[in-house]
């Protein structure tokens, strides 16, 4: 069945810079914002942008991710004819191999894509927090009659060395791609969101697969090759809600930002809803003794202690006498009595015993607490 546009969501990332958060978890499955996982934003974008043919490429520790996605119900991607398909590595008569780079992952699933005979291929990543209408990007791509359109965001000049930077002419035609440049000529960073004319991309993927020297990566191999051939690559300037949560520090900061935001413009935006799996916990119970300021609390929580500048995911308990400040408590966390937490991220289902004190100073990176390092981090 023909589809104009197929979307490939890269969700195999290891997310090394998130440390303990991604020890047994693909980065797209990391919890965010009190009730979501990172991938929810990309999937909700698909639903809201009417992109219904979505291949999700997974490879690294996908169990939790697969469980969360399920058959795609929250995003209305449980469809008969297209919808969501999880694309993991597989074998053929002549053996099999793992996905080597982003381009390789797409190349290995060429049959899936060809089954829909699309004009356009959208490649997105499940790694960022953003609200984006991919359909607008597609319309822009069509208007420019481009071979490739890359979504970009302006980043502060001092941070350009952390990003893939696109150098463009005034009308946003891309003439150079620099991966993490020391002296950037532009502050337009690639968001890792591409639209390709599928027929054009296909040829490059086939050629790239033959090169043993290639990393089979879009940023490092495919895009430079296309630029080298004078293909029409355009940047699409995005200025909506976008958060990078690639490091522990930025992950924590993004949460603190949420407390300042008007949520009706971000997570609770009625025109651009963010959908997620829901475990049907009861409403939160706030007890007599609770003192809550500047916090976000999800269903199933029971709070008897004090919260300040904290985010509680579902089914968290904070017992009497405890004080939780500037902290993020993942689903199922249980905080005993007279605990003090400050600048701490507690991982799923960890129980913090009575009287525990964990404090990260303002200069330190926030502390991630798992059931294994609990004793080590107790101050």
């Amino acid at each position: 069945m023909k589809k104009e546009c197929v979307t490939m969501l890269l969700a195999g990332g290891v997310g090394t810079r998130l440390g303990l958060l991604t020890k047994n978890l693909a980065k797209p499955a990391v919890p965010f914002g009190g009730r979501y996982r990172i991938i929810d934003f990309a999937l909700s974008n698909c639903l809201n942008s009417h992109m219904h043919t979505v291949g999700v490429l997974t490879q690294y520790s996908p169990l939790e991710l697969h469980k969360h996605i399920g058959v795609g119900k929250p995003w209305d991607l449980d469809r008969m004819e297209d919808g969501l398909t999880i694309l993991s590595p597989f074998t053929e008569k002549d053996g099999g191999s793992w996905y080597l780079g982003t381009a390789d992952a797409i190349a290995k699933n060429m049959n899936y894509i060809e089954g829909y005979d699309p004009e356009y291929l959208i490649v997105i990543s499940g790694d960022h927090i953003y609200h984006m209408d991919y359909d607008k990007l597609l319309q822009h791509h069509k208007e420019k009659e481009a071979d490739v359109t890359i979504s970009v965001v302006e980043v502060p000049w001092k941070e350009t060395s952390r990003f893939g930077i696109l150098n463009t002419t005034e009308n946003l035609r891309i003439y150079e791609f620099e991966e993490k440049p020391k002296n950037a000529k532009s502050n337009l960073a690639s968001m890792g969101i591409y639209i390709f004319n599928w027929k054009v991309l296909k040829n490059y993927l086939v050629e790239d697969a033959k090169l043993s020297s290639s990393n089979h990566d879009f940023g490092q191999d495919i895009l430079p090759a296309m630029i080298g051939d004078d293909r029409l690559l355009y940047a699409y300037r995005f200025d909506g809600y976008w958060k990078d949560v690639g490091t522990i520090e930025s992950y924590w900061e993004a949460h603190m930002d949420l407390l300042k935001e008007d949520l009706s413009l971000s997570l609770n935006n009625n025109d651009w809803r963010t959908y997620s799996h829901d475990s049907n916990f009861a409403p939160q119970l706030i007890e007599d003794t609770a003192v809550i300021q500047h916090s976000l609390i999800n269903n199933g929580c029971v709070v008897a202690g004090s919260l300040d500048h904290s985010i509680l995911f579902e089914n968290v308990e904070v017992s009497e006498g405890s004080v939780v400040k500037q902290s993020i408590l993942h689903p199922g966390v249980c905080i005993g009595k007279n605990v003090l937490l400050d600048r701490v991220i507690v991982q799923e289902n960890v129980t913090i015993p009575d009287g525990t004190k964990i404090v990260a100073s303002r200069e330190e990176e926030p502390i991630i607490v798992s059931s294994h390092n609990l004793k080590a981090v107790h101050s």
Binding site: G34, L263, S279, N280, A282, P283, E287, I292, N298, G300
Partner: protein, 368 residues
């Protein structure tokens, strides 16, 4: 494997919640911060391996249909079985059936097509969070014709007056079903019987121009049917009036009751709302309250139940109240002993106060 099909019979549940049931049936009334009354029964069924559930309804079922949708949130959006809301669209000129018997008569094909040999029947007024495995096991083991789920309330309240009371012998065989005001052993409205027996009793009832399946088909046949009682020990409540509605919402603010109803291994399934977590600002002052997601709280909330998406502005006070979805309490307003239906706006500085014994009920979509 022996299995049950489910039936939620709303025929005899009248508009028992005053203003709250002007435009919707009681089963569709919001309850406990994020649920509707029917969620408790329906989710018990869904978790009891029941793959086919029918709902008998006569009128005001539109918001019920909206709430239930395809049944996906209860995992009942099945291609084989699933959820069937059965409104009264009947065109049989020879039909002489009355009361709930006309539902049974006109929906006979639901039972005949169903793959299960047993039927579990329930209303929506018995609030509990359980699975019916043990009830069913008991039914199979005792070889009873009918098994009633019963429970005992230590304290009897007005809502129990409308319930059928049960007297049993030491083996749990039902000796009598009466309206004895002093008997604390109450029939929950949940019972199970074999499908073939059900259809047989339905035919008998219709032939006798009866209009109430349970009273005429089961209670009246107490002498010739083997009716067993299975005693349920868990937390439950009967909600069949504004008074009991208010009291049993408020009861959940007590940690013990909250844990009893909710902190089971199994959650109560309901329609998913996709709201962000509730946001408390630096001005919020909240205690002893049950609060759903999507709220923004800048004011004071005390001893209250807040449904999804409620705004409590700076300086506003909400006390001993039940505030339903998307209500907006503007700055400085003061509410006490109020039940407020969906989408109500309380303007700046407004003061509303009911009595605990008689909460002030405000119908939906008002601006006061």
């Amino acid at each position: 494997m022996d299995t049950m099909m489910g039936l939620i019979n709303l025929e005899h549940e009248h508009d028992f919640l005053n203003e709250l049931t002007y435009f919707r049936c009681g089963a569709a009334v919001p309850f406990a911060g994020r649920f509707r009354m029917i969620d408790f029964t329906l989710s018990n069924m869904a978790k009891s391996n029941i793959n086919e559930v029918a709902i008998f309804t006569r009128s005001k079922y539109r918001s019920l249909m909206d709430h239930l949708g395809s049944g996906a949130d209860w995992d009942l959006d099945r291609r084989h079985g699933g959820l069937f809301i059965l409104p009264p669209d009947w065109n049989d000129p020879t039909d002489i059936s009355k009361g709930d018997l006309s539902h049974f008569h006109n929906n006979r094909d639901y039972f005949e097509r169903g793959k299960s040999d047993y039927v579990l029947i329930s209303g929506s007024q018995f609030i509990s969070n359980t699975v019916y495995h043990k009830l069913f096991q008991h039914h199979l083991e005792t070889g009873a014709d009918v098994t009633l789920l019963t429970t005992t309330y230590e304290e009897l309240h007005p809502e129990h007056n409308a319930c059928i009371k049960v007297k049993v012998d030491e083996d749990g065989s039902v000796l009598s079903l009466t309206n004895d005001a002093k008997n604390p052993h109450v029939f929950s409205g949940v019972y199970v019987l074999r499908k073939s027996l059900l259809l047989e009793l339905v035919d008998e009832c219709i032939a006798n121009y009866s209009n109430h399946f349970f009273l005429d088909g089961i209670k009246s046949n107490l002498d010739r049917l083997n009716i067993q009682s299975y005693h349920y020990d868990g937390y439950s409540s009967i909600v069949n009036s504004v008074d009991s509605y208010y009291r049993h919402n408020m009861a959940l603010l007590d940690r013990k009751s909250y844990n009893s109803l909710f902190s089971n291994e199994e959650n109560v399934l309901t329609k998913v709302g996709n709201q962000a977590p509730t946001k408390y600002s630096g001005l919020s002052k909240v205690s002893k309250s049950l609060i759903a997601t999507g709220c923004v709280i800048d004011g004071q909330v005390d001893n209250s139940v807040l449904f999804r998406g409620v705004n409590v502005s700076e300086g506003a006070v909400v006390k001993n109240s039940i505030i339903m979805q998307r209500c907006n309490i503007e700055a400085g307003a003061h509410l006490e002993n109020v039940i407020m239906d969906k989408d109500v706006t309380i303007t700046k500085g407004q003061v509303l106060k009911g009595a605990k014994e008689q909460p002030f009920v405000i119908a939906k979509r008002r601006k006061i």
